[in-house]
Assembly symmetry: C2
Homo-oligomer: 518 residues x 2
């Protein structure tokens, strides 16, 4: 058994049985070994950012890591943006980067580069497998470290000769870390604060955004008169009818400041204290109000669900004390198509159990509102701000949950970073409907140009934020990647196309021509 | 004047007047300043790899750096692969990476990451502008360092508040380094070796692949019975009728070994000693034959053209002693379309002064042979092995040389990494003909799978190298990006489409459906 075979066998034995990949010559033995360890599913991506984003989406839904296989430093570079998003969302990823053979590195061949420096941007655990005797144990360690808590990106650098050399033995799975136990003193102290008179909020993120944890959070909030807020960009929030409705902190610091205004206590539950997404001249970066004390109930190393359950007990919240969202769907939209109308149609038609991958940016602003009372569904957002995440995450979610419909809210600017995702959707016949908002601009940047105080923007500046000349035709691009696609310019057309796409298994793209809301 | 305005003014005063960019919020003041310093041309790319590859192609043709503007760590990650190619080709690039405001970094906002570690993969000169007082001088230094020799990637990290703060003053240009003087002793010693009886070769690369330098190299070779070889992947080689024909070292180590067999002396001229592109089990990585002495006439810090001229003098080569390529074009191909036929048509029709960006990989293997006697033209290759370079480099070359026709030889697998290039070609109406070889496979990897000894490859492995299910339709993708496109399945169709594309200004794409040569 060679190193690659033992590595893949170890991954499978450790529960990692999907690998999103864009391999090159140095990974050919890994690729060949897929036929020896048949439980490992290889999913080909035509660009590394698709592979890494898919691994992120997969793990958000599967609650276990996938592997990615990348080709040397440049391949890792191409995959970095979506690994960044995974890191910020505390998503586990086993990030395997093929390297030259150990003895070949000294020659500084064309593809030689410093892989570890690049990996350090996203990984605190980076290991180069030194020999065929060690590679399987390295793989088992990587899975355990990635799984957490805290979940993270574990980067395993795999020299080609370690892959191809015979004499490897699979390693046994390594148990991941136990979560930090719930701190009874902290729970008691926070309970006392929440039962006091000062305005307070529970600020939930990460794994505290799952349905059961939110029920306990809502019980606490209702029993103590505490506000319940979720982080701006949760990796996965379980929502819709029958679940707890949660307001998310606004992206724009001005609005977030209003949501937080007057608070004296902010309790973090697998979230971090809110800060402005970007800095703006003359505006505060730290959004925690003056005089507000920040408390930590659980962090990424802990067990937020157990901590919330303990807190609910501590405040004596009744078992049925949570606020539960009633089913409520908007009317179907009519007339000229707008971003709001698209979101309204989504709210009217979203099927039960759907997974929404939301990178709608400005156009998607209305989506959360219109779908609040739709049947229970999961919502994934852009955790790290590196755009080009929505389509790949949908690929991964669809691989993780083949029985659920995935809907991507994608915007024109963001789509173009990882548009190759559509090809993988076609190849794997993934059940994904892409709703592509085409407003022919980097709308969010038109807004930001003003918000950062950079004047109104002259003609040359505006040109850099404009996506016309030429306007992209996403129907053609999608079809070119093998995905059936249609275009909607009226609400009626969009509704009909969305109905049809939701009723048809497999991938499809609907290009919604909408005016910019900015 | 704010920091961004002073920075751009300084770049322009230092000769850098094109910026390929994919900006975000933290770069909005840079973008706004384009209207204040109107000599700077901003060229928008929809993906960072297009921007960095375009800067590479631009500098290869303009012989001076362009700037690129990227958005934080993820943007740099997306641009890294083509910066890697530029680094390996010794191409100058002023790599500007926007960052959060200095005071904002402590909050670890969503887009916060360690930019310097990523930059270290491609840059030995990395500077974070610390204040508005320093930013202009930093920019002048960056241009000088990038320009070299040795030419390199200079990375300037630009915090948003340094951009937006008032009080900056433009800086004067900084003179770049002088090349290392030609070493008369080394010239004399090498001349003696070449005039001796032992088999020797001149191995030219980098700036030694320009027309004038090659004339001197050929004079030396002919006067001394020395073999003349060029590196496998030159950044830019000037060739065709009226120029010196030069054999390039083969990509496959087996063939390269034959070209180098029996040599006792190898003289490097702005090149590095040949090594195998990848390692293969049981095969040598170092391609310099046993017993062959390596001599350095000039390196990337020197002046290879002057060194070759001095060497020609030292060996007493006659002024007209160079071998000059006669004009010779192949016949037009007929019948079913093949990769060879495409290259034959290119040789028959390539216009004088054309620039060829060659990422044809396996399908492009015949291109050099069929175009050897075409009218004088420039040829750019994939210097660092990170695929997705051909289309962006063509963007940059076309911006640098608006009066010359650019032809891209691109393969299906490679095209998909930076396919967004077509949109920039359409927006800027660049005069670029893309010849897209569609053989529906990662053909080079099918070859490599066998070469690395990874068995024949089972069905799961083969699947990872196969680009069918679905076959991509590049006509649709190109049209979706705003570029007119046609498809050719016979040689006659291809010839007609190529004639038409060459005769029509502006971008076009021809998808050539060809069988894989592997």
């Amino acid at each position: 058994m060679n190193g690659a075979q033992a590595l893949i066998r170890t991954l499978v034995d450790s529960g990692v049985d999907v690998c999103f990949m864009n391999p090159g010559t140095s990974e050919m033995h890994f690729v060949a070994a897929l036929d020896d360890v048949r439980e490992m599913r290889g999913v080909l991506a035509l660009f590394e950012g698709v592979a890494t984003g898919a691994a992120d989406g997969y793990a958000r839904m599967a609650d276990k890591p996938a592997a990615v296989l990348l080709h040397l430093g440049p391949g890792l570079g191409n995959g970095l943006a979506n690994l960044h998003n995974a890191r910020k969302g505390h998503t586990p990823v086993v990030n395997i980067v093929g390297d030259h053979a150990t003895y070949h590195k000294q020659y500084d061949a064309q593809l030689e580069s410093d892989i570890e420096t690049v990996a350090a941007n996203v990984s605190t655990w980076i290991r180069t497998s030194a020999s065929v005797e060690e590679v399987a144990a390295d793989a088992a360690d990587a899975v355990a470290v990635a799984s957490g808590p805290p979940a993270q990106i574990a980067t395993l650098i795999l020299p080609a000769d370690v892959s191809w050399t015979e004499g490897a033995t699979p390693a046994s799975p390594v148990a991941p870390a136990e979560p930090t136990p719930v701190d009874a003193d902290a729970v008691a102290a926070i309970a006392a604060v929440l039962q006091g008179d000062e305005p307070a909020a529970l600020f939930v993120g990460g794994r505290a955004c799952r349905a059961d944890a939110l029920v306990d959070a809502s019980r606490v909030a209702n029993a103590t008169g505490t506000k319940l807020l979720a982080e701006t960009f949760p990796a996965r929030i379980e929502r819709g009818a029958g679940r707890v409705p949660v307001e998310r902190l606004a992206y724009l610091a001005e609005f977030a400041a209003m949501q937080l205004d007057g608070l004296r206590h902010l309790v973090l539950v697998d979230s971090k204290a809110p800060v402005s997404f970007f800095a703006y001249p003359g505006k505060a970066s730290d959004l925690v109000p003056e005089g507000c004390t920040v408390h930590v109930l659980a962090d990424a190393s802990g067990d937020p669900a157990a901590a919330l359950a303990a807190l609910a007990d501590a405040v004596g919240a009744p078992a049925d004390g949570a606020t539960i969202q009633a089913e409520a769907r908007p009317e179907l939209p009519t007339g000229p198509l707008t971003a709001d109308g698209v979101c309204q149609a989504l709210g009217a038609l979203l099927p039960e159990g759907a997974i929404v991958s939301d990178e709608g940016n400005t156009s998607g602003l209305f989506a959360a509102g219109h779908t609040a009372g739709a049947p229970a569904h999961d919502w994934m957002t852009l955790t790290g701000g590196a755009i080009g995440q929505g389509l790949p995450a949908a690929v991964g979610a669809a691989v993780a949950c083949p029985d659920r419909k995935v809907v991507v809210l994608e915007s024109d600017g963001s789509a173009m970073y990882t548009v190759q995702s559509w090809w993988t959707m076609a190849r794997e016949q993934l059940d994904v409907v892409t709703i592509l908002f085409n407003n022919a601009s980097y709308a969010v940047l038109n807004m930001e140009l003003n918000r950062v105080g950079a004047t109104e923007g002259g003609p040359k500046a505006k040109e850099m934020l404009d996506l016309t000349r030429p306007t992209m035709d996403f129907v053609s691009i999608a079809q070119g990647c093998g995905v059936p696609a249609t275009r909607a310019t009226t609400a009626e057309e969009f509704v009909e196309q969305l109905r049809s796409a939701l009723a048809t298994p497999g991938p499809s793209v609907i290009e919604a021509i909408v005016p910019s809301i900015i």
